[in-house]
Amino acid sequence: MQEYKFTEEQEKEISRILAKYPVKTSALLPLLTLVQRADRVVSPEAMVAISKKLDVSPAYVQSVMSFYTMYHTEKVGKYMILFCINISCQLNGCDKLLEHTARKLNIKVGETTSDEKFTLHREECLAACTEAPMMRVNDTYYGNLTEQRIDQILESLD
């Protein structure tokens, strides 16, 4: 296994994160997030690197990471689309919209486009029911979706 190298910038960020917690282990989620954002994946090498930073076992990093759905062991697209399929969105027709999006991107739900631009996933309630149906693209919420609006949004992302 190759050694994972954090960038200088990341090292600084890690020091800032670590300073926030009295117990090092608490920084596990923030570090996983840091890596996921930068690499769009948490590789085995990165897991080992994180485990060393926090003095925990690689098995423990794996256990926490695999508990959460927001960390990925396979590289995801530049834009991660989380499509809410819970009750409010469901009642407002999310199924058809999700299908539309998949067709538009020419992938199945759960897949990534060949240009690695988009990944499409189902998600449980994203706590924005007032604007159902909705989806989340990376950190941005888009509500009151229609097919046209989805097309516009996808085109606006580059």
Binding site: S51, Q62, F67
Partner: protein
């Protein structure tokens, strides 16, 4: 007992009154009082966890009723505990029912069947008709490592394996994966398990999710016959459960029941998976006579008569002391006793010894010195209650793995402080709040131990006036320590004085202290002086502080202690009664110069294991008649005139005495294999062949004889309850053992810039482990270690072959870089015949200087 006293509380269980120490959890009280409570994720060796939720009981304290999880809830004064009430049953059943929804219930092919907590609890709660449709998981079994099979469909997510691996073993190789319906157990990145292979995870698993692939049969473990015996590898002396079926040993398990042996159901890789040495095609099958360089099979009668004739002829021609014998650190006490009896009483020779004593006769003396100074040392079962443990030059997880388990337990439950002094940065993960690491310059052991004593005196950490009034030569000790100033010591050891001071403070305070000394001190050439210094250290706290102190001499093999107890050495008869016989000079020199005409080696391989292989080879070549009894064709056996095939520990009865003097039963689980005989039988028959049969010849009779010859053994037989033998009160005055002013640690020579460190690998010890397939699978090749900086300098990298060369010899070996091994040293485990590290030693004691270069 720890010096921290625990309050005793009064509680009632289902109306019965009982008392328990404060801090005990309710479930433990129930178990100890034989009250059954359903539970699946509890283990008394682990921290409270509460994953399975099947252990609910009702408690009433001050009239207030509560429903609590008994595995995590501590008792309180006056608590009334009620188990299996209508209400708790309802809850417990509901939780168990959920666990069963997914369970495959493939009991007939499951290794746990019949000894399965999941079955037992289902039965206990009478959960016969489930309300739910079962949805079995059906994932393939994972068999990516040679030892442990993961069949996770049976996993109930109790977390016991994860916690055992972390808390007991400190290895942290396993953890939970994912969540919800897809939850499982696994390694980081699902890589093949590459761990210490202790197998604790298999023992603690309450289902058949983890299985021992070395087992000779699958399923229905309840049908196996169980025999409790004592492990035949290291000197820790774990109780093993040999499981047999149709006269064959199928596998070895640990027994976690209360008061079984000294190991609380912990085992290491060797003890658990090393059973491959028992049924093995490489075993010597028949007595073999060397006829002109070829071994020819002979009958037992022929062999024994030849030996007897030769013995008699040698006594007649050259006198009794021209016959000599090496007793075995791996034979039982009874066998060793008979061997010395045959030589001393029947033949009249005092030329008896054992390999450890030939090398380090000071070990026994050290033990006796401890006794004289009032340090008789507690049973090792109390190690887990220690307040402080000093691990002196021992890589615990490799040398005494299960000792490491006890120490870790202490750090979790009794706040044990850990002080580790070692030239390598040995890995020892535990929960200790105080964990002082003294990584000293290789070879400066003496300075470390001496400085600790000096700090205790100088800083007033002990009551010096009390020590002085009890021990006559106190001033002499002070004088002898004077050169170990902070500066001098730092120069010698590389250790800043505040580290040593911290260690001295923790050691000197009111505490129950245990000192575990590694066999590595023997390699320094200063073993005796180091043990003296440790004796002085312990004597200082024994007289100048409160609490207790226990220290045991380093012993390597399963009966390294017992072989000495049985008088297999020229100075002492059984029980350390002084021997009046001829003391002789160096054992192997005696052979080499022709003084010894007849040599009997019982189950030892000095050519392969002694630190002076060249001398041994010459000696054995010279001896006119050499008998070797052994299980395998060792390098030593190959030089014999007659080889007798002996039986393994699984085929014989007797006792071993472990390093802390616990006398423990070895019990046969199967009949002697092939024509092999236990050494016990061989010796009885040899006496008969000599025409002077022993008057007593059964095991109980011999044990009785031993009790008479060695009174310290009184009451320790038959060894089923692991009793420690206790020395009689010494009438000698305590005294410090003053070391001569030393010429400490020489500087490395330029041409040989590295010092060599060798000891037993975690998976191997002695001459048998290389015959156990499982141990070879997990520890296939010898890998030397070197610090990455040194490697850079040499231009070598992990995986390269290197040549390690001393002034006398060289070996080729694969290398790995690691920061565990300090700069300036190279570490080579000594257990691979193809890497004969002892040859590098040039027959001399002391650290060996070597150079390392890339091979080819």
């Amino acid at each position: 007992m720890s010096t921290v006293e625990k309050k005793i509380l009064n509680v009632k269980i289902n109306g019965e009154e009982t008392t328990v120490p404060e801090g005990t959890v309710v479930l433990e009280v129930c178990k100890q009082n034989n009250v059954e409570v359903s539970n699946l994720c509890y283990n008394r060796k682990l921290k409270p966890f509460a994953a399975c939720r099947t252990c609910m009981v009702e408690t009433v304290v001050d009239g207030k009723k509560e429903l609590v999880y008994s595995c995590t809830h501590p008792v309180a004064e006056g608590m009334e505990i009620r188990t299996a009430t209508e209400e708790t049953d309802r809850y417990n059943k509901a939780c168990l029912e959920m666990l069963l929804v997914e369970h495959p219930l493939d009991c007939p092919i499951c290794d746990k069947s019949g000894v399965c907590p999941l079955q037992d609890n289902t039965d206990l709660l009478q959960l016969y008709d489930g309300r739910f449709e079962t949805q079995r998981r059906n994932e393939p079994s994972i068999k990516t490592n040679p030892i442990i099979e993961f069949y996770l469909n049976r996993c109930i997510m109790c977390g016991l394996c994860v916690r055992a691996c972390d808390e007991i073993q400190g290895a942290k190789a396993l953890d939970f994966h994912k969540r919800g319906m897809s939850v499982g157990i696994g390694t980081a990145n699902d890589e093949p398990l590459d761990c210490e292979f202790c197998g604790q995870c298999i023992t603690v698993c309450p289902t058949g999710a983890l299985m021992d692939m070395t087992s000779g049969a699958r399923g229905l473990a309840a049908m196996f016959t169980e025999t409790h015996s004592t492990c035949n590898f290291c000197s820790w002396g774990c109780t093993v459960k040999l499981e047999t079926k149709k006269g064959e040993v199928i596998r070895i398990e640990a027994d976690e029941n209360y008061n079984v042996g000294i190991n609380e159901g912990n085992l290491c890789a060797k003890g658990r998976f090393g059973h491959g040495i028992i049924h093995n095609e490489q075993r010597i099958e028949n007595p073999l006579m060397n006829v002109g360089g070829d071994f020819q099979e002979v009958t037992w009668d022929e062999a024994l008569n030849t030996i007897a004739d030769r013995m008699q002829a040698t006594v007649n021609r050259s006198g009794p002391d021209s016959l000599a014998a090496i007793g075995s650190e791996k034979l039982t006490n009874e066998e060793n006793y008979l061997l010395q009896k045959l030589f001393r009483e029947t033949l009249g020779s005092n030329q008896l010894n054992n390999l450890a004593n030939i090398r380090a006769p000071y070990l026994n003396q050290f033990m006796l010195n401890c006794f004289d100074n009032g340090i008789s040392s507690k049973p090792i079962t109390q190690l887990q209650e220690a307040d402080v443990v000093l691990v002196f030059n021992s890589d615990l997880p490799s040398e005494y793995p299960v000792g490491g388990n006890s120490v870790r337990f202490g750090t979790v439950f009794n706040n044990t402080d850990i002080l580790i002094a070692n030239p390598r940065r040995v890995v020892f993960d535990s929960e200790a709040k105080v964990d002082v690491r003294m990584t000293f310059k290789h070879g400066s052991d003496l300075a470390v131990a001496s400085r600790l004593a000096k700090i205790m005196i100088d800083n007033g950490l002990i009551d010096a006036s009390k020590a002085k009034s009890s021990i006559a030569n106190f001033d002499e000790l002070v004088q002898s320590l004077s050169s170990y100033t902070a500066d001098n010591t730092e120069k010698l050891t590389g250790l800043p004085d505040d580290v040593l001071t911290r260690a001295a403070e923790r050691f000197a305070r009111d505490a129950d202290r245990f000192v575990l000394v590694g066999n590595d001190i023997l390699d320094t050439g200063q073993g005796e002086e180091i043990l003296n210094a440790l004796l002085n250290l312990c004597t200082l706290v024994n007289f100048g502080s409160t609490g207790s102190v226990s220290i045991y001499p380093p012993r390597e093999h399963c009966n390294s202690q017992g072989v000495n107890d049985m008088g297999l050495e020229p100075e002492f008869l059984p029980g350390y009664q002084p021997s009046k016989g001829e003391k002789g000079r160096d054992f192997f020199e005696n052979c080499k110069d022709g003084t010894t005409k007849f040599l009997y080696i019982a189950g030892e391989d000095p050519v392969g294991s002694f630190y002076r292989p060249q001398l041994v080879t010459e000696a054995l070549r010279t001896v006119p008649f050499l008998i070797v009894t052994d299980v395998y064709m060792t390098e030593t056996a190959k030089m014999a005139d007659l080889i007798l095939p002996s039986s393994t520990y699984a085929e014989k009865d007797g006792t071993y005495t472990n390093m802390s003097r616990h006398v423990q039963a070895v019990t046969s689980a199967i009949l002697p294999q092939g024509t092999s005989k236990p050494d016990f039988d061989i010796l009885i028959e040899l006496a008969e062949a000599l025409g002077k049969p022993f008057q007593k010849s059964t095991l109980p009779e011999i044990q009785q004889e031993i009790e008479e010859a060695a009174p310290v053994y009184k009451g320790t037989f038959p060894g089923k309850d692991s009793k420690q033998w206790v020395p009689p009160k010494s009438d000698k005055k305590p005294e410090f053992k003053i070391n001569p002013a030393s010429n400490d640690a020489e500087a490395a020579q330029e041409s040989f810039p590295f010092t060599l460190q060798t000891n037993n690998h975690m998976f191997h010890i002695g001459s048998y482990s290389q015959h156990a397939k499982a141990l070879v699978d997990i520890g296939p090749e010898c890998i030397a270690e070197i610090h990455p900086e040194d490697a850079k300098g040499l231009g070598v990298a992990s995986g390269d072959q290197v040549v390690i060369e001393s002034s006398s010899s060289k070996v080729q070996v694969k290398i790995k870089t690691t920061r565990v091994t300090s700069q300036g040293m190279v570490y080579v485990p000594k257990n691979w015949p193809e890497v004969p590290v002892n040859n590098l030693r040039n027959g001399e004691e002391g650290l060996v200087q070597v150079k390392v270069s890339k091979s080819g």
